[in-house]
Symmetry: D2
Subunit: 249 residues, 4 copies
């Protein structure tokens, strides 16, 4: 039994890449995985930290038919571990590159937002592009998102989707689940990593600045705590979801 935070196996066809609020039904892959691999155990992975933040912002909007996404990240230094980013590189600076990160965000997002098809996940048929940047912030990845929908929803539809979003971890009151997984911040200049990332014990995603996008349909900002919701807390919540499904018995 493995609940993995590493990048290996995330994109295996029969391995769930899980964000418990967004794609809990992907756990149904496990029986096929065990059958195909001849395993009694199982492996479930959680995504790259920036993917978690992006998919928590996009998940509530999946119902409107996401067809295209352009996302730019402003990622905290803690995402690189320790010793991680040398201070000579990032103090009062931006590094517009994080090795392998854009590819991971693009592929993992398509898989997480994809559909369970018996023995594999059919990736979301959306074009997803990521620009990844490191900024001098301690904790909290900020992502600007432009998104295009096939259903052409109104702005109020999107806002309602964010405000009313709840999911399996909330319904089952999983111990590490935030009471509301997605929180819309009304202030015009929020969310901000230093002021918002640690709220809700670091387990919620914070959305703000939803507005029309002249190039695609809408744009907004989403922020999440990269080492809590994006890593350690994600793995714990995955395990809690699996336990509630009886998969850990």
């Amino acid at each position: 039994m493995v609940v993995s935070n590493s990048r290996n196996h995330r994109m295996d066809a029969d391995v769930p890449l899980l964000v418990p609020e967004i794609n809990p039904e992907h756990l149904k892959l496990v029986p096929a995985q065990q059958r195909q691999r001849g395993w009694k155990g199982q492996i479930v992975t959680n995504p790259n930290c920036s993917t978690v933040v992006l998919t928590m912002g996009l998940g509530p909007l999946k119902q409107f038919g996401i067809t295209r996404v352009v996302a730019t990240t402003l990622q905290a230094i803690s995402g690189a571990g320790y010793p991680g980013v040398p201070s000579m590189d990032i103090t009062a600076n931006v590094i517009p590159f994080i090795g392998g990160e854009e590819e991971k965000m693009q592929q993992e997002t398509q898989k997480i937002l994809g559909e369970f098809r018996g023995d594999h996940i059919e990736p979301l048929h959306a074009k997803v592009s990521a620009h990844c940047n490191r900024v001098p912030v301690v904790d909290g990845h900020t992502v600007t998102v432009s998104v295009e929908f096939s259903a052409k929803p109104g702005e109020k539809d999107l806002r309602h989707a964010f405000d009313s979003f709840t999911a399996v971890p909330q319904q089952r009151r999983l111990p590490s689940a935030p009471s509301r997984p997605v929180i819309y911040t009304e202030e015009k200049d929020r969310p901000q990593p230093r002021r918002d990332a640690e709220r809700e014990r670091g387990m919620a995603a914070f959305i703000g600045r939803l507005r029309p996008c002249p190039a695609l349909d809408y744009k907004f900002v989403v922020l999440g705590h990269n080492t809590v919701r994006g890593a350690a807390g994600a793995a714990v919540l995955n395990a809690e979801l699996m336990h509630s499904e009886g998969l850990l018995d």
Copy 2:
């Protein structure tokens, strides 16, 4: 005679919004401006600092028929003047909002990349979307850009366009003109504001990371010095161009 760095009049139909390397022919508006306004004098403006950076990155690519742009900025604190941004707001933080900035970037970019039509500028018929963020950097605005073209150029075409780009200020050897207005940085993690913004006396734009964009056609990073190329130096270069046209006689 006014060479203005303020936001007023930038979008007036008969007022050139000038980036000397990108749209020097917009100075031809001046006679119509003088006629229409009954002025002996004239007014020429330079754009918002983040617009200068974006248009210097897009200008060399205009030939390929720009149809759509999604740009996200990571803007330095010096762009807000003094005292400007309180340190309590920006230390180890990101502010995902700069008042009025996105609208300015979107409109001004269309005008600068537009066509002179006798007595007005026909804006570029491209959809332009900006996400503007403040980051804890002293000088230098970094912009990530996804762009779509009607001509569907190859990546080498774009790279050649950047590398070979030169313009009127270079041809006339204007005193403040950088020898090369657009410089492509080969390193995979450049350009960076603290390391690149001050090169070429702050008057060039630095491009990097040109690559295909899964959502539009291509994506890249462009960086420029916001208080030099984006403000004081821009106004000086405008005046030098006007002088070389005989407009200041």
Copy 3:
């Protein structure tokens, strides 16, 4: 009845300048204050934020006869309030000056460590010198301290004084009192503002690096949370102490 955090009245002869763990007996000034001023009410003040930190480091050592102190502060931006320090001044920088701060630290420290003499406080007869600097830290003032003693204690005596220090707020279990007001950090590179200031709900002072000083007798580092222990929390703890003394009835 006034419990004041402002600088006014702090140095009045008949007004307690209170750090509850360090000089609770200074509250005995109140009756004389009321008599002299003909007041029914009373005024009690809490010190400047950097003084609180310094005196919590020196208080446990007062028993050894402090005769000379050289202190250098590295103060957080939150100490200047909001909007406070412009980011253009402090990003990747040090400002080696804070208006009026050195004089306040020097005088207030002498008063707080002084003796109650019926109707006034006899200041500590120690030479106290402060160098005050602003650094790009959000919360937490760090102070390096060199100190000279008349009693010539051993290093173990000082360490024991820190480790065993407890005071009236702890004995009375005042609600805002930290369980240990002074905490010695064993790691060679601690205390640090980002890692330690918020521990103990921001109400303790953290000491580290006690060692001989070639110029005076000993040196060490002391850190405290400037807006909690140094301001809001200090005022609350003062009120709790006064209430426990029956002064608020």
Copy 4:
């Protein structure tokens, strides 16, 4: 022939530890060094970066009989080389410890300000204490200094000593020598690393805030560029001085 920037040999009795403006006469050690070691070559060292800054501040005052010094540094991250300090350690933080730095500053300062005695340097008989801190600054070490003198000079005497200070490298117009090695900044909140360290091509020391010290006699702030004046530029200036003495022939 070695002009070394490493820590080895700095404290050898017969090896000059050179700051060309402060102790050029220590080069007279070389003949004795060659004789004692049976060498044709020679070794001359330059000090630790923080020692260079401190001794350039103290050198002009040596004439008044320095008897005691308490110095606290706020050192830039570039002093630790690359990758050097992890950004997780220093972003919005202070590290109140730099391994071995305090001992080096204390011993090296005594040697540099000491007297040549034929075959060795008699260290300055002053008590020197250093507190070393790392701060989130890119380049430039700031040092707060309290100092005691046997001659009890007036404040004007000290100020005149700073203002009139010039030395052998200036008199011989050595190529890397700053026109004035020590520059007093009049503004009440200077010198500052981001604004002053790079002035004079990084080769001068900047002094400010000279004032009486309640604990010793006077206090002031001194700043220097740690990787230029404190390392590479120091080694070059040493070689230029040696060349001007005929030692490199």
